[in-house]
Amino acid sequence: MTFGVLVFPGSNCDHDAYHALKHIHGINTSFIWHKESEIGNVDGVIIPGGFSYGDYLRSGAIARFSPVMNAVARFAEKGGPILGICNGFQILLEARLLPGTMMANEQLRFTCKFVNLVCQNRDTPFTSSIPDEMVLRIPVAHGEGNYYADSELLKKLEDANQVVFRYCDADGNITPEANPNGSVGNIAGICNEKGNVVGMMPHPERAVEPGLGSDHGRYLFDSTLSRIITAL
């Protein structure tokens, strides 16, 4: 099993994702430079966080036109598992591989802290191993994580079970106080209709060892492992 971690100019969580996949989960992992036109024979792709192209114009707006994104779109079409984290989520939105858009945090501050998440869709390659009812403790670090979908799109996402994560309090209650950025419906992560493309603002790759404050992020990568091993 092989995973690819995309690298854009300005990616800065690429090595964290590599570490989580390779050293913590033992998954054969390679970096894929954004100029590549093929992603090779991988079983999954991580689009890591950071500030691709310095967030110029809009977060992710320029990265989506990197050559590698054509290959990523083809991989998504084939049902390949893709996880976009933070800036990776923003890139997936700009590339229209996921619906909706991202705005500046409501409070206009860069927010870097641990948040609590509930998972509401375990039928994705990255969430199947998350225990029922578990509240995940995973950090966020972003200035533009205020997810926006108009009421029509929001209803569509909810009806199709495409909301994967919501911000909640430590007991799992979805409250306005638990929302770190003003996201509509406390949405922290969504997936596409098929469920193979997932985008989330929190950083599971930063929560894979107890020494990091939490190892709850491991459930996401465990999910991909068990799913792909089952398919073999």
Binding site: F65, G100, M103, D150
Partner: protein
Amino acid sequence: MQVDIVITLRESILDPKGKASHHALENLGFRNISSVRIGKFIQIDIDTDNPEEAREIATEACEKLLANTVMENYEIRIPDTSS
């Protein structure tokens, strides 16, 4: 030909930067300013003298990259060359 593009957030979208600036203006004593919306101003040079062609190219640039039409509107301003 120089073309100006003004990008603004759609009316339905909350504009936190505009809101914060409005609040600051109120604190400075500007009582008659009822709202502030913050957008982007982009100037592009297009190798053509044909305004229609320039508009077409600028529109395509906005649709493909410069504006995120999910949340932004854009206005293309072409200089008047008729005089």
